[in-house]
């Protein structure tokens, strides 16, 4: 289940949906939040833009890759778009598996890969009403590169 939405989500509900997936012994989840102090002190919110259609197909493809590399039973990814205040949930990745090693690895892979290949862009909105686009971090590119298998 992959969902791009403006609404918030409930992690308990998401995890229960994952645990309904047959012979599940392990659920690993990641939730990203709007940090209350980013690189700039005066940020009051984020605005998230995306490329409808491509976003979903990129994440579907990442979930398919995860399913080929690890033994997993279900994946749920939710990514919010639009304006998000400090402290709000941005993204959820949850993976159900029979075994915890696979659940952890697939969850971290999905999150790292999503950050460098899913077409989302973040803008920081500051107290004075100005806004500026966030730059991609080299550390995020390095993390995603670390999962390459060639």
């Amino acid at each position: 289940m992959i969902r791009i939405q403006t609404e918030d989500f409930d992690i308990g509900e998401q995890t229960r949906a994952l645990s309904a997936a047959g012979d599940t012994g392990a659920i690993a989840t990641f939730t990203g939040l709007v940090r209350t102090s980013g690189d700039r002190q005066d940020v009051r919110a984020l605005f998230l833009e995306h490329y409808p259609g491509m976003t979903e197909s990129v994440i579907e493809d990442l979930a398919r890759q995860a399913g080929e590399r690890w033994s997993i039973q279900a994946v749920r990814v939710i990514h919010r778009v639009g304006e998000l205040a400090l402290g709000e949930q941005i993204v959820f990745v949850g993976v159900a598996s029979a075994h915890r090693g696979d659940a952890f690895a697939a969850c971290e892979f999905l999150m790292d890969a999503l950050k460098t290949s899913a077409p989302f862009w973040k803008k920081e909105i500051t107290e004075d009403g100005e806004s500026h686009w966030v730059e991609q971090k080299a550390s995020d590119r390095d993390k995603a590169e670390g999962w390459r298998q060639d």
Binding site: G32, Y51, M54, H79, V91, L114, K115, P119, W121, W133
Partner: protein, 85 residues
């Protein structure tokens, strides 16, 4: 009978170009690199497409390289490195 492609722009690029989408006629065997050259030759602000900031390319919603050869009706997207999650 010239073939046409759609070019979409996102995020900082959309704002700089004040354009979210345009249609562009292309020749046979045209590549994404040629489309970008054609647009950049329009001068400022379009020269940003050949500027210092990296430009990512998708063709029909899949990441592509500049050498990618286009078909009539293709949807090209140009955007800055992604920053979701």
């Amino acid at each position: 009978m010239s073939a046409v492609v759609t070019v979409k722009f996102f995020a900082r690029l959309r704002e700089t170009l004040q354009t979210d989408e345009l249609e562009l006629p292309i020749g046979e065997q045209a590549t994404v690199a040629e489309v970008i050259d054609t647009l950049a030759r329009r001068g400022a602000p379009w020269d940003v497409l050949k500027g210092e900031q990296p430009v990512m390319i998708a063709v029909n919603q899949t990441m592509a390289r500049p050498a990618h050869t286009l078909e009539p009706g293709d949807e090209i997207a140009l955007f800055p490195p992604v920053t979701g999650g």
